[in-house]
């Protein structure tokens, strides 16, 4: 177990380093921030001062190594745009996204597992038909469209919910509802398929021969066995949300990491771009380890 965790930490570390290299050089391709932050008629001197201030006057490779040097001391640099430590800016935004992701995934998982299990238990029944409907919607409805229609209907039309921003519980409803749709459809499909297999298995037959009732058959005997592939998809979908639901966050003006990433790329705010990518990457590595541990907790045959 400890060996497994150590191994994963090492491989994650290597991936992070490769990621830093790739993102560092790629982000520089977006252009020189000086052009963006100083007025068009700024003097050459002012430009050089700006570059020197942010270390942009050095050769790229020198910039890279000095960045790495800072990184080792957990210094992610300054945000050019906000004149605050980049890490601070990023963690603030990440906290928003994390909340959004956790709440959404909790609702999605609970709903998909329950509905998918019931659908599998009675194929062709009412739950199965609801499940098929949502799976189709989840797979085919583009979230930017759903988000805009939702705003038009619920905020503008009925005036029930705020269009964007944060502040009250009401602000959370639309983003969560829109983010819910795609992972719900996908996870539902997987739960249903996996549960069909589990319910047809020999141990479920044993349970029935013992006199176990339908509810315990589904949720005790079959579900835990069916959860491994489901966990994989939940992990995938959660990762997608942690990465920042760029479109949804932008449309709803939600101050999360996705919106921050897009903004900082457009603003050529390199330290923020790098810091936000590293923070999300780290979170995703952490989540993958949690998922692996959950596998082992669910299935005693899996040991690391």
């Amino acid at each position: 177990m400890q060996r497994f965790l150590a191994k994963r930490a090492v491989s994650s570390g290597v991936s992070l380093i490769l990621l830093v290299i790739a993102v560092f050089f790629l982000s520089r391709l977006t252009g020189d921030p000086t052009d963006l932050y100083l007025p068009i008629d700024a003097s050459q001197e002012a430009r050089e001062n700006f570059r020197a201030l942010h270390g942009l006057d050095q050769p790229l490779i020198v910039q890279f190594f000095s960045y790495l040097g800072d990184l080792v001391r957990l210094d992610f640099g300054e945000s050019i745009r906000r004149a605050r430590p980049a890490l601070e800016v990023v963690t603030e935004a990440f906290a928003w996204t994390l909340q959004l992701a956790v709440i959404t995934m909790a609702i999605v998982s609970g709903a998909a597992i329950t509905l998918g299990s019931l659908a599998a238990f009675n194929l062709g029944g009412i739950f199965d038909r609801i499940a098929t409907f949502f799976s189709l919607i989840g797979a085919s409805a583009p979230d930017f469209w759903v988000a805009i229609v939702a705003i038009v209907v619920f905020s503008v039309g009925f005036g029930w919910l705020p269009t964007s921003g944060t502040g009250t519980v009401w602000h959370w409803i639309l983003p969560i509802a829109v983010l819910f749709i795609r992972p719900f459809g996908l996870i539902l499909q997987v739960v249903r398929g996996s549960m069909i297999t589990a319910l047809g298995s020999a141990y479920v037959k044993t349970a029935r021969a013992k006199g176990v009732g339908p509810r315990a058959t589904i949720f005790v005997h079959a579900l835990r066995n069916a959860m491994l592939p489901v966990l994989t998809v939940i992990g995938d979908q959660a990762a997608a949300l942690l990465n920042g639901a760029v479109v949804v966050e932008t449309i709803f003006g939600f101050p999360g990491i996705g919106k921050l990433m897009i903004d900082s790329i457009l603003q050529r705010d390199f330290s923020v771009v790098l810091a936000s990518i590293m923070v999300t990457a780290f979170a995703i590595f952490l989540m993958n380890i949690l998922i692996d541990l959950a596998y082992a907790a669910l299935d005693p045959r899996i040991r690391y």
Binding site: A202, T206, A209, G211, G213, P300
Partner: protein
């Protein structure tokens, strides 16, 4: 006479499939009382498990439906009871154990919990159920019940898992225990133990025992009465001895006639020169030693049987010979050259000389290839055996030789029965004109009658093509009928080898004697004698220890 405890009356069950309705059982009737041991005997597809599945409400409806009949338990028709009422009987009054206990135990829960659950759902308090579980585990012969209850199914051996199933089924002292092929996948010695345990518990509790099996030996060992099923119908019923001695229905006659272990034993060993010699061959898997330096020879034209229980290393030798896995040490001399030391290129030329037929033809034949492709594939890999223009004709010839016909050429494996698939696998091996065929449990998965036919086919092909066989098996009666020489293996070592007559009539080693004593004879009288001997041995061994 009072009503029987459990009676199936005139039961007909149909399954609606994509290809139309299948009448799984037609007008089946049987009954058991307390203290009875009834065997339902039948081959695969005979519908032998269907009526007991109906008793426990395990038939999914749809696609299944019950067309007629009733199932009376203590005089009440359980088919008319509510689902909840039937669940109240399941596990409490009527319990069931199955073949393949590994897949029938829930892999993700501790075994103690699973046994407790039987009691808990029928109203026993958890604490009480926990204590009772430990008593049950001890009773079915699981060592260290306290620790065992905390383990998961995969941490037990096959025989122990069946004991766990039995503990689970017997938790509430049911009146009827239905055992569906309870010993089919187990080694003979374990099979004898499990049947012994079932019988002991049946005597002690006085429950009725219904045993579903394809094995006449199991019937001879344990059953008082037997019903014989074929194609969904009961063709014969009576006491076990009556049915064996004096079968009335032609099907029963054929079944008994096909039972292995009754044929001519092969005359003495051949003294032809060896074609293959294994010298001091060993195999390690990490720290585990699967083979401890074994040596044997295969003589030209002989059938050499390798018998042993699971884990004896009998299949490992086959995998090493074909270089499916690399040996850790030793040599395998074929035509004076060491197979283990050959380069891949050299080996390629020799591969066609040694072919293999596996246990499960469903898995060993690629489902997406036609029979023609399967049989001819080797010719593309080993050019020069058959010219491309003659492939069709040659495949047709081979199919006829293994008892199939030319029209089968363009079908896929799933369109054949198990026995036919094994014939295809044999045709495929034969296509390369090999000198040695390794049969790894090649007839174990087949019904007795089909088994007898495949053995006959292998025997005929051997004579026609001058083949030598390495026949790996756990089923001693088949080996007795088919082999010239026998190697008995245990724990990666050869215990004993000799001519088939010597091994069966005058085994030298204790292990071989135990193995033979544990194997079941279809004749109830012989089996009764063998059983008495076995019990005597156990007693002696117990006293000695």
């Amino acid at each position: 006479m009072a009503d029987p405890l459990l009676e199936v009356r005139n039961l007909s069950v149909t399954f609606d499939t994509a290809r139309g309705p299948v009448h799984a059982v037609k007008h089946v009737s049987w009954a058991v009382n307390r203290g009875d041991v009834l065997a339902i005997l039948g081959e695969s597809g005979s519908g032998k498990s269907v009526s007991s599945s109906a008793v426990l409400d395990l038939i999914d409806m749809p696609p299944g439906r019950i067309d007629s009949g009733e199932i009376l338990f203590e005089g009440r028709n359980i088919l008319e009871m509510s689902a909840a009422e039937r669940r109240g009987l399941n596990g409490k009054r009527i319990a069931m154990i199955f073949q393949d206990p590994l897949s029938h135990l829930n892999p993700v829960y501790r075994v103690g919990w699973q046994i407790e659950e039987t009691m808990a759902i029928h109203g026993t308090a958890r604490a009480e159920a926990k204590a009772e579980t430990l008593r049950l585990l001890a009773k079915v012969g699981i060592p260290d019940p306290q620790a065992a209850a905390e383990k998961y199914p995969h941490q037990f051996s096959g025989g122990q898992r069946q004991r766990l199933m039995i503990a689970m089924a017997l938790a509430l002292k049911p009146d009827v225990l239905i055992a569906d092929e309870p010993t089919t996948a187990l080694d003979v010695t374990v099979q004898a133990q499990i049947l012994g345990l079932l019988e002991e518990l049946q005597k002690e509790t006085g429950m009725a025992l219904v045993i579903i099996t394809h094995d006449l030996g199991v019937v001879a060992e344990i059953a008082h009465r037997v019903v014989v099923m074929s194609k969904g119908e009961i063709v014969e019923a009576g006491t076990a001895a009556e049915v064996y001695r004096n079968p009335q229905h032609p099907y029963t006659k054929r079944l008994i006639g096909a039972a292995p272990g009754k044929g001519e034993i092969h005359p003495d060993e051949l003294d032809t020169p060896p074609i293959l010699a294994l010298q001091n061959v060993s195999k390690q898997y990490g720290a585990f030693t699967a083979l401890h330096g074994i040596s044997y020879e295969l003589r030209e034209g002989e059938t050499l049987a390798i018998v042993g229980e699971s884990g004896s290393g009998k299949s490992t030798t086959a995998r090493l010979l074909l270089r499916l896995e690399e040996a850790s040490g030793g040599r395998a001399l074929y035509q004076g050259r060491d197979l283990f030391a050959m380069s891949p290129k050299e080996l390629h030329g020799l591969r066609r000389d040694i072919q293999m037929v596996f246990q499960d033809p469903t898995q060993s034949l690629n489902p997406r290839m036609t029979v023609f492709q399967l049989v001819s594939e080797g010719w593309a890999i080993h050019p020069g055996i058959v010219e491309k223009s003659r492939w069709k004709a040659r495949v047709a010839e081979l199919l006829r030789e293994v008892g199939l016909s030319e029209e089968h050429m363009h079908r896929h494996p799933h369109q054949f029965s198990g026995g036919q698939r094994q014939r295809i696998a044999i045709a495929r091996a034969l296509a390369l004109e090999p000198r040695i065929i390794v049969c790894d449990e090649a007839v174990s998965a087949l019904d007795v009658q089909v088994q007898a036919q495949v053995i006959e086919l292998l025997d005929r092909l051997k004579a026609a093509h001058g083949l030598s066989y390495i026949f790996i098996a756990h089923d001693l009666p088949v080996v007795r009928d088919f082999a010239d020489r026998v190697i008995v293996m245990q724990g990666g070592r050869i215990v004993e080898q000799g001519g088939v007559r010597q091994i069966f009539d005058a085994p030298r080693e204790e292990y071989t004697r135990n193995l033979l004593a544990a194997s079941l004879d279809p004749d109830p009288e012989i089996q009764a004698r063998r059983r008495a001997e076995r019990l005597e041995r156990q007693k002696l061994a117990g006293e000695a220890a």
